[in-house]
Symmetry: C2
């Protein structure tokens, strides 16, 4: 087989033009271009075998392509790519798609280490490539490079991670202005990292400080297997609500919400018992629900708290019910009162020193 | 109301004698003693209101009782308790149960801080009490104390935790020989600890180094709410298996286990399709299952790996099936082939660089 695979580059402005010029066929309404019939839309760029990540530097100039089976990662220059396209500098054609001449578009091959996969950036001219086989992260310098220099000198640091790192993410590393302080290694396994806790071993991600010359491991956090692509952004870009506000003009009111014990009520219609209940530190109102065996019971529970992190739970153990209701939120649960008896319902989310007293009863007549 | 609550002490040797002497009544087969009718079995010991933890020091001599509504924790001396019982040194009797004279059994009241709940030990003569209201852990010295000393001097350190700590645990802190190196604060909430991520905020436990004079926060780990009582033991006390061994004389063989692709088979009986399948890096055998719409499909999947952490998954997305199978384990899933079509099944637990190629097909004829 061949010693190279390819990156497929798409010129999306040309693709847009090709669609407008009627060069696309529609499949299920989606315009599909055959690049062989729309010259200028797609190009192949040769790369080491089994490529994974293709990442673009913050400046937009350097394209980093990693072929897993090569111990190097390749830097392409977008300016050289444009020139090669302009000058039709092709080394081959595959399925009607031109292959750009590798030596014309490649800026450098960086000897980062074994099994390079994905690359992130710090905004200070450095790139960070995950090494799947080596279980490490390599830090290396982006261009320019000295003429004829030994490329090894540009790989400036390496930190081991545990184990088989796949993706990695630097803070705002996919933007024009990376934050440059932190990197998280998203490891696929955790060999050698944890004590033996039996056949199924927890996986972990690792937080690394990238502010200095040397990368520094700060923290391990357990994760669900298998961590994949992620983006890390600065906290001040998000402004989530802290509670569901009682009167929020931007949010539709839940018609079943109630906001005081006075509004609490139980309405029976035939075999249906409908309950409008509120929860607050530290009681439910109403705190007794009466039903007959076989009744359908509907509970609308509003947590009337307006304080951050003041969640309440509502559990009926023998009915396998456990709601968690955020501050200001209303949730509804419907169940059949199949089992006769006296069943405690109680708060399952610690709410105050009197949490354990927050309970009531479901009474089901045989 | 009264200004004290009580610890109920049970002399279990006396209780055993009382049962043997026929002083117990049986309810559902369980012998129940009325302590009023069996003198010497139970005693009340007065304590600050709303008591939580009652913990015994490694030597067995000091009983630490914390009443949540007092800013002190109380040290009782088991020798003084025994003496008071011998001498019938009672200050009251409640429901026929003698109340030991508080000033006779109390060794000291330690001004640990607000909302003391539970106490753990380090084996070097210090105790660690969780402070629910103060959101802190207090480190204090166990007896002996100087005559007439200001007790504040024995509270030697305090570390803030976030937030509303309930239980806490030191390494082997419930044993005669605590390890003395680490403490975990099991916090009920996390106010002020995390960035705002919306109404439901993650809770965390905190790992604290207790080897020095000053306690030192080492690590935050996210936990499910609400963390409760826990025990921390040394890792070398456990020796869990790393894989389910193929030939383990101590474990019954799963009759549906297979250990090679040669043993893989599919058997149809009427409307039932039964599959004995194996998984190994990086294929399933068999990798095609044929069924007719409405058939019952039974898959017995053995992960024949004998390497640590080499789990395989088996998912059929449209059938909402996702098994995770430990190395050497056999799991069975049964489902009805309700939907006709071609459905990929694939490994869902990263297993090697060829993980994504580990797949097969379920073909369901209409």
């Amino acid at each position: 087989q061949k010693d190279k695979d390819y990156i497929l580059m798409v010129d999306w402005r040309e693709a847009e033009k090709a669609v407008k010029a009627g060069k696309a066929k529609r499949y299920s309404g989606i315009p599909v271009i055959d690049p062989a019939k729309a010259p200028g839309v797609a190009f192949f760029m040769p790369l080491a075998k089994s490529p994974h990540g293709v990442d673009v530097s913050p400046s937009g100039r350097w394209i980093i392509g990693s072929g897993k089976l090569s111990p190097t990662t390749t830097v392409f220059d977008i300016e050289k790519v444009k020139k090669a396209i302009r000058e039709k500098d092709y080394e081959d054609t595959i399925d009607g798609i031109p292959v750009l001449t590798y030596t014309s578009v490649r800026e450098a091959e960086i000897p980062v280490g074994l099994g390079p996969l994905h690359t992130q950036f710090d905004g200070r001219g450095y790139a960070y490539t995950s090494l799947f086989v080596e279980s490490a992260v390599a830090k290396w310098k982006l261009p320019p490079y000295d003429e004829g220099a030994d490329m090894n000198q540009y790989v400036v640091d390496k930190i081991p991670v545990a184990y088989n790192i796949g993706h990695l993410v630097t803070a705002e590393g996919d933007s024009r202005e990376p934050d440059g302080n932190y990197l998280v290694a998203l490891n696929k396994l955790s060999k050698g990292r944890h004590l033996n806790v039996g056949p199924s071993i927890p996986e972990s991600a690792q937080l690394i400080d990238i502010t200095g010359d040397k990368m520094k491991l700060l923290y391990d956090a357990f994760t669900e297997p298998e961590p994949h692509y992620a983006v890390m952004i600065k906290a001040d870009k998000l402004n989530p609500i802290e509670v569901y506000k009682k009167d929020d003009p931007e949010r539709p009111k839940n018609p079943d919400a109630i906001w005081s014990a006075d509004e609490a009520k139980i309405v029976r219609r035939g075999r249906t018992v409908e309950v409008w209940m509120m929860a607050v530190r530290t009681f439910f109102a109403p705190d007794v629900i009466r039903a007959n065996k076989g009744d359908k019971v509907i509970v609308h529970l509003t947590n009337i708290e307006q304080t951050r992190d003041e969640l309440h739970g509502f559990a009926i153990n023998d009915y396998n019910i456990n709601l968690v209701v955020d501050p200001g939120e209303t949730k509804t649960v419907t169940f059949k009162a199949k089992k006769p008896g006296v069943y405690a319902f109680y708060c399952t989310n610690f709410c105050s020193a009197l949490h354990q007293e927050m309970q009531g009863y479901l009474l089901v007549k045989p």
